[in-house]
Amino acid sequence: MLRLVAQRVLALVPLLLIVSVLTFSFTSLLPSDPVDLILGESGTQEQHDMLRKRMGLDQPVQVRYAAWLGKAVRGDLGTSFFSSVSVTDAVLQRLPVTLSLTAFSALIAIVVGVAAGVAAALKPQSLADRLATLGATFGQAVPNFWFGLILVAIFAVGLRWFPATGFVRFSESPSDWLRSVTLPSIALGLSASAAIARQVRSAMVGVLQQDYIRAARAQGLSRSRVILRHALTNAMVPVVAVLSFQITVLLGGALVVEQVFSINGLGTLAIGAVRQQDIPMLQGLVLVMVALVVAVQLITDIIYGLLNPKARPS
């Protein structure tokens, strides 16, 4: 298992490197000169030159990249052009917000998706199967932010069970945290749970036809035990293989859903950075997100290895 982890981590280094080159060169393509943006029309030529020098913009692009990468490796992602706060600090401050939203919605998506997929697979063509298939088809067509709005209308404005906006940190009050992330997470998790339900269903239908399921039943193990232990463990193998993709989608979706609930997470930060063309902030955001995605991939790879003995290096 250690070897697997080591292998994966090593394989991720080039990916991170390529992403950093990409983001750096992309953001260097910004049409407007950041010095003009910051100083506006007002500054004198000397002021412009001085700022340019201080920001290192007079250097060739490869030198700037090397300097940026050198700092990034040590956790320093630069300073925002506009608020003069450290990008690392700004991102780290918002990270728990987006992360808890993504994680909680992933949990909901997995639980709902697996339950619906299994229920559908147990009796193909039954009412449960039809409902699950219908739900999955709809779930993938509903925009998460619209679903969020509807949830707000019903459960926040109408029933007043949950707050309509805002986010409470887990460290401040776990119960308020739960209340604040429930609606956004349900909104966000819907389409992922639909996708997972589809995958679980088809995997489970296949597994239930396998000889080892019949053999386990012939050995007198109970129906629920055979389904939940023997069948589901195998059915989850292909599902886990694409789970990291689903979580990547959730992370992206969180950026939008945050806006519905006025949650101050990475999404708000990113939208602000785009409007202001805040290059260091955008670079930092992309890099942190890729790092997150990569971490998720690593975790799902490990779970995949645990579920599927054939995938382990011997």
């Binding site: 080039p14 983001t23 953001t27 147990l122 709809f138 619209w146 239930l208 050995q219 195998n234 890729v290």
Partner: protein, 643 residues
Amino acid sequence: MSAAAIAGESDAPRRSRRKPEASMLIVAFAATVLGVLFLLAVLADWVSPYDPLQQDLMSALQWPSSAHWLGTDDLGRDVLSRLIYGCRIAVIATAEATAIALVIGVPIGLFIGYRGGWWDWIVMRVVEALVSIPGIMVAIVIIAILGPGLHRAMIALGILFSTSFLRLTRGVVLAEREEVYVRSARVVGASETRILLRHIFPNIAPPLIVQTTLTVGAVLLAEAGLSFIGLGIQPPQASWGTMLNTAAAFMDLNWFLAIPPGVAIILTVLSVNLLGDVLRDSIGRGIAAAAPPPASAPRVAPLLARAPSDSPQSSRSDEMLRIEALDIVIAMPGATEIPVITDVSLAIAKGETLGLVGESGSGKTLTGLAILGLLGPVLRMTHGSIRLNGRAIHDLDQKALEAVRGSEVAMVFQDPTTSLNPAFTVGSQIAEVLRIKNGLSAEDARRRTVQLIDRVGIPRAAERAQAYPHELSGGMAQRIAIARALSCNPSLLIADEPTTALDVTVQQEILDLFRDLQDEFGMAMMFVTHDLAVAADVCNRIAVMYAGEVVETAEVDALFADPRHPYTRGLLSALPQGSSRNPPLPIIPGSVPRPGTWPTGCRFQNRCDRRVEACEARIPLVGAERMVRCVHYQNARLKAVLS
């Protein structure tokens, strides 16, 4: 069988995703929605009741009324009109982004797939990097460079979605590049462009069409999302995304604002996705082959009403298993029941091994599964009884059946590599049974597991218990399966072709193991096989099955010395050694008729060289010690009695 629906053995044909009529309905629905969308987009200037930008602050945030069918927004603009103009934006936006994605993705995919080498490596690494960033973030960065707005946002989405076209095209090209026709085109000197366009491109078209539909749905959602967060279409222009942006600000005052654009997005995306699903299904399998017509039940000759059973069998005191007049049918909803097992009666004494012999399709395995109550949802026992140690087990409820399985009757299956769960170590699969069925502690179960593995002749048992099924050879895996079956000391072991999937050299070892174990554990055994030689090796008695019924039963020696049913004789003559004992007979022509196509009367008549008119009538199984179901034997007996 009362315990019908059992997970795991659903023999239901894999469902084709949709029935043809259903997909026609879906296509009709989707086409209607998209047709209306297009019409509204084209005719927006004429059909929308108001100017979508015309403000009227006096009537802001109104609920639906006769003047404003869908109400008004915060600036008093007519929601219906904005929705209709939103159709136009939706069509333009998705067309633009999808076209850009195609124009970027397909040529690059063609190029790198065909060229390979460094180009391929570099482009694919970049694509991998792009794909590992959440899509919306990629779009955000591109919009940061280009600036917001309809067309620029769509360029961003086009670049984002081009990766899926690129990968798809590259994959197809890689596969096609080495095809014979492409190579031969190259040999005759066709230019590379010509090869790509004339020979390879047509193969990419079908998957590209499917991918395009899927992309259109995703683009619609992404465009709405970008406009919602204010980075796509800019106000005051009416798009569904910007309308939702407005709605979000006034949820507490007028929640209805969110409904029209939301429903429009859902309906459109749903239609496009459904269309994509149908396309994928039909392109993937070929429309004609998508769903074979449900097997209409062939006419089945009504089974003769019979006396309690026409196959009496002397009851013996040391009987372990007794099956009486067993009938099993295929019962599909909405179809006539098709018999697969009729009037099967068998008995096995303590310590005895009964061979159940016949070609595949004769119903041997089903008889075994019926004993365990594992027939599944499609097969149903309609008549007869199954008794184990004198107790009826065919009408037990699920719980009681589970108690019988494993503990009193256990089964070893044909293919050991598929009958062990690939996710768990072989030791844990045996230990699980010991813990659950026998209530052993984890420690005791482990110790007993190692003993069992050792007992079935596997060296270094403790170490092998830690192995996964895929790490074992077929013979080794079958020994494990046998060890698991024996773990609860069953009084009856059903072995279903346990050596068929194994190498010939291993077969004999496994057969020896069965004989040894039976002596040691003193259980009765039902040995299902198509191979009379194997049966002769391990069995005391043999029941020959053909097309769902028993045609002959006898002690092994008697059967080999004097086979009475023509089918038995045919089976014997097919054995290599058989021919030395009997005059050589041709191998039985034809094959076992499928259930539902059985002839009335003797089911073997169409393959029999001794067929007479009387074979058309139903033939009972007659005899005492040995029994035969054949008109010739029946006549012989009759004559003997009469004279």
